[in-house]
């Protein structure tokens, strides 16, 4: 009898006992069942994470010996930092040795830059669409919403050709320029700015504030929760971006984490402790951001869908 099957039997027995004790009121039995189901789901979700952490720290010799962690006490022979040491030892490449922290820095740089750029340009465009009346506004709005339906895959081939023609291959600009402002972000900022009263902006104007000052100092502070949510969603999306970086970047020392980890997968097939250590490092920054800003994130995710 293995422990997992024993656990299942105990859980079933618990349900039967609860059911028999109060057959007329099955409520407690069902409440119990509900928590068991939820706990099982949570365990299934957590197991791969736990396994990832264990595998990243396990010694190569015992990698396949224990399912999760080796039994306590851990020694240098079972749990150590060997995988990380070898991960950070550097890859040979045409440009000389490239160290793993280089990819981490690349990813951080690319993702942060694109998040900041998108926040600035999307909020500016959203502000114009929310708080001004100007010629061509209606068609532009319609057009923008329509362009959200163009699937990104359709534009990849011509975009690649354009990046080549512009001489931007293998530069980070090729990742930034096409996505400076995205319709989805503009729309979100416009929606959250609509509720700001016009009288407030007019009061600023009477005091002699420029339009830019109004945008930066009056409006932006008011939509700060929206900014946080937008930045998180954008950061996550771009941190995990693969298609663009994998076709636009070529030189090894410019690659981002998703691209290099996909390469490692082929390189270290049998020795998976190494790329799992890399994966563990790669999922840390978004995890830290998420747990710090969880509420804003979930609010931002659902704000577009649920209100409608």
């Amino acid at each position: 009898m293995n422990p997992l099957r024993a656990l299942v039997l105990v859980l079933i027995a618990g349900f039967v006992v609860l059911w028999l004790r109060a057959p007329s009121r099955p409520k407690t039995a069902f409440a119990y069942l509900r928590w068991v189901a939820l706990a099982c789901a949570a365990a299934l979700i957590v197991a791969p994470f736990l396994w990832l952490v264990a595998a990243a720290f396990k010694d190569r010799e015992v990698l396949n010996e224990y399912i999760f962690f080796p039994p306590l006490p851990w020694t240098d022979k079972t749990m150590n930092l060997e995988n990380f040491r070898r991960l950070f030892a550097g890859d040979p490449s045409v440009q000389g040795k490239v160290y793993f922290w280089q990819y981490v820095l690349n990813s951080l740089f690319v993702t942060t830059t694109i998040t900041v750029l998108q926040m600035v340009f999307c909020s500016a465009a959203g502000f114009a669409l929310a708080k001004y009346d100007f010629r061509g506004k209606k068609p532009l709005m319609t057009f923008m919403l329509g362009s959200m339906m163009i699937p990104s895959v359709l534009l990849l081939a011509p975009l690649y050709e354009m990046i080549v023609e512009l001489g931007l291959v293998d530069t980070y600009s090729s990742l930034f320029l096409p996505y400076l402002a995205v319709p989805y972000g503009i729309f979100l900022f416009r929606q959250s700015m609509l509720s700001i009263p016009n009288e407030m902006l007019d009061a600023g104007r009477i005091d002699g504030a420029s339009e830019f000052y109004i945008y930066l100092r009056l409006v932006m502070p008011l939509v700060r929760p929206m900014c946080a949510a937008f930045c998180l969603v954008t950061f996550l999306g771009n941190w995990n971006a693969f298609f663009g970086p994998s076709i636009f970047l070529h030189t090894q020392d410019k690659l981002t984490l998703p691209v290099i980890l996909n390469l490692y997968l082929g390189l270290y097939r049998a020795d998976y402790g190494i790329f799992l250590a890399g994966t563990l490092i790669a999922i840390l920054p978004p995890a830290i951001l998420f747990f710090a800003l969880e509420k804003e994130f979930i609010g931002g995710l659902t704000s577009g869908a649920v209100k409608g």
Partner: protein, 293 residues
């Protein structure tokens, strides 16, 4: 609201430039490219409808379309009911345990498709992989299942990995929708003697239909763009899997357009998948009632 000279145009200028240069121009170019054969970005030749003729007579493309459709169907028929079930279970709970469970169930979504692919490519290995070990402990199945080498098991493997990744994501939407459902309506139905299932089917579900439609259509659209997960999961065969068992439409596009280097053919595949996605988006507008507003 008044017109204020150039100000709005200046605020919009960066977006307008991006729209013209990186959306509209490539879109027009995609239309031209689809009728050309290219060898890398340098050489182009007009070939009429040959690209489309090639796609629709290529058994590999049909295999990709079939795999992608199976994946899309499973997303809607397996993943979404599970998400809804979890949302219903969580909706009745209260307090800290509920917040913690919500966080835990959502957490895989922080991990991108590539990283999930990398992780699960090891979880699915024979003998020491976690999936096989779990199934052995629970049902006594053998440890020798070659999930990623057996053509019959490749799609189930992709679906399981995607299930782990997205079940909590969709649950968040359902949970938010469940909380905006009018409680008095459900209460009234229950007083009238409706069972829990009847209340859910006749009261709860209809009053959150906007979100349900939104989630169904977004998962369909996402499914037809599936690419990174199988690419990493099946990296030894460039995302194709044994006998192309894991090939998706976008992997096919990546293959012909960027690996082989015929951007024209790639564009044509792009149009075919765009039409599928566009149709699904129209369905969303039609059924979500956005058009009436």
């Amino acid at each position: 609201m008044k017109q204020r000279g150039l100000a709005p145009y200046l605020f919009l200028a960066p977006y307008l430039v991006v729209l013209l240069v990186f959306t509209l121009y490539p879109l027009a170019n995609a239309a031209v490219l689809a009728f050309q054969q290219t060898n890398g970005p340098a050489t182009r030749a007009f070939v009429g409808f040959d690209n489309f003729r090639f796609i629709f007579s290529d058994p590999t493309f049909y295999q990709a379309l079939k795999n992608t459709t199976i994946f899309a169907a499973c997303s809607v028929l397996v993943q979404l009911p599970l998400s809804m079930g979890l949302a219903l279970l969580l909706n009745e709970g209260k307090g800290r345990a509920r917040a913690l469970l919500r966080l835990v169930l959502f957490s895989p979504n922080l991990v991108g498709q590539i990283f999930v692919g990398v992780l699960f490519s090891v979880l699915f290995t024979a003998r020491y992989g976690l999936v096989n070990r779990f199934l052995q402990a629970l049902f006594g199945w053998g440890l020798e299942k070659q999930w990623l080498q057996d053509p019959a098991l490749v799609m189930p493997a992709i679906i399981i990995a995607a299930l782990w990744l997205y079940v909590g994501f969709n649950m968040i939407y359902f949970l938010a929708a469940l909380q905006s459902v009018d409680k008095t309506l459900e209460e009234a139905a229950r007083v009238d003697g409706a069972t829990r299932l009847q209340v859910f089917w006749n009261v709860t579900l209809p009053s959150m239909r906007h979100v349900v439609v939104f989630v169904v259509v977004t998962s369909l659209i996402g499914s037809y763009q599936l690419f990174e997960l199988p690419l990493a999961l099946l990296s030894s065969s460039n995302g194709r899997g044994p006998d192309n068992a894991g090939l998706t439409v976008i992997t096919y596009l990546y293959d012909v357009g960027f690996v082989t280097g015929d951007l024209g053919l790639g564009s044509a595949v792009g149009w075919v998948s765009a039409i599928i996605i566009f149709t699904l988006s129209l369905l969303q507008i039609r059924f979500s009632g956005l058009a009436e507003e």
